[in-house]
Subunit: 221 residues, 2 copies
């Protein structure tokens, strides 16, 4: 175990490990090696060992990692061994879809409040949660000890919502709006805009499907 600072790349892999370990556990597999893990997850085994070793000596030489033990450890590292309440701001289609994942997040994280600024939405029910007006956001966040906010409002409202969330004492934001949010440096923001994903995917499409491009052929790439 070291006490260097952990890079974001490492932290982002932990949930991937966890997911697969949960799978193994369901299949009643007791032990797994970094090699098997690497093969299934498309990662270098050395990288996996190194990632885990940042946090402790979780494996046994010659044997591998105990599945249950490693699950427990990663859950603790990710703070998924405590209940984390989440607020969803934006009760549109996407918000609706995300709130359904409560079942999936079950034990650990839970969307416990939904907000929207559009009056006709207020009071509507989304999976047993009642949509609340923005005016109640701060109070609800403090009362329920909500620590993470998910933003699924239109672009032009996103920054404003972020400001309100921050002012209400939220610690981290998952932002689905296609904008770069400005927030204090101690607030963690992850972008989850799928249009950006789609557009970068397009780059990797095969060339040459355009009809009659008026350039010299293949001078780029």
């Amino acid at each position: 175990m070291k006490s260097e600072k952990i890079s974001e790349a490492v932290v982002r892999r932990l949930p991937v490990y966890l997911r697969f370990l949960n799978d193994l556990q369901k299949r009643e597999i007791l032990t797994v090696s970094s090699q098997e893990l690497g093969q299934k997850l498309d990662l270098n085994p050395a990288q996996i060992r190194k990632d885990l070793a940042y946090f402790g000596d979780f494996g046994r030489k010659g044997i591998g990692y105990d599945v249950s033990y490693l699950i427990e450890k990663i859950r603790h590292i990710l703070k998924l061994d405590q209940q984390i309440n989440v607020a969803l701001v934006g009760a549109g289609n996407l918000g609706h879809a995300l709130s359904n994942y409560n079942a999936y997040l079950k034990d650990t994280m839970k969307i416990t409040a939904v907000f929207d600024s559009y009056p006709p939405k207020i009071g509507q029910k989304i999976n047993s949660l009642v949509v609340q007006p923005m005016e109640e956001l701060e109070r609800t966040i403090r009362e329920q000890g909500i620590r993470i906010g998910i933003i699924t409002v239109p672009d032009h409202e996103a920054q404003n919502v972020a400001d309100i969330l921050v002012a209400s004492g939220i610690e981290a934001i998952l932002n689905f709006a296609p904008v770069i949010l400005k927030t204090p440096s101690d607030i963690r923001v992850h972008g989850a805009d799928f249009t950006t994903d789609l557009q970068s995917l397009a780059y990797y499409l095969r060339d040459g499907k355009e009809e009659a491009a008026d350039e010299q052929p293949q001078n780029l790439n």
Copy 2:
């Protein structure tokens, strides 16, 4: 301009540049410097200049970048100057939400077909698209020249759907299911699983909210 291979990090920033440039254009701003860009997007100006220089000499020394010209160039690089048809597989809540973004993707990418394997869904309308059965996937993909597939089915169906998409001639996949897909190396896959995002966010929450942890205080991190 060089002809090195372009890293994924660079490609992922291009849509971010594009988004902001579109903004500037709407506000009728004609020119922008790497410095302004960097400030707004939270990136190093040198990095932005370098990113763009991979693809050509788009700027003018002493002046900056012409907004319209740069938009045109990035759109071309990302192949967003041709129409790209997209298939959505999985007509659940999330699929529903994504299909709404057609308006947003407008000019360039378009979800032109929706599939589901659950009989009661077949024939239902989702934003003017009729949900088709999986059996029609291959034919529709070929007929419509669909090149990208979005997977929004439950975890355990995702790999199967990916296999079918690949067999149907798709070139790239955006996968919302929380699994690592196995695909041929010439198929580009981007993961867009928001549960992973949320879990890694939890890592960055402030410590010490757990009541009475039975460990030595702050020996980690």
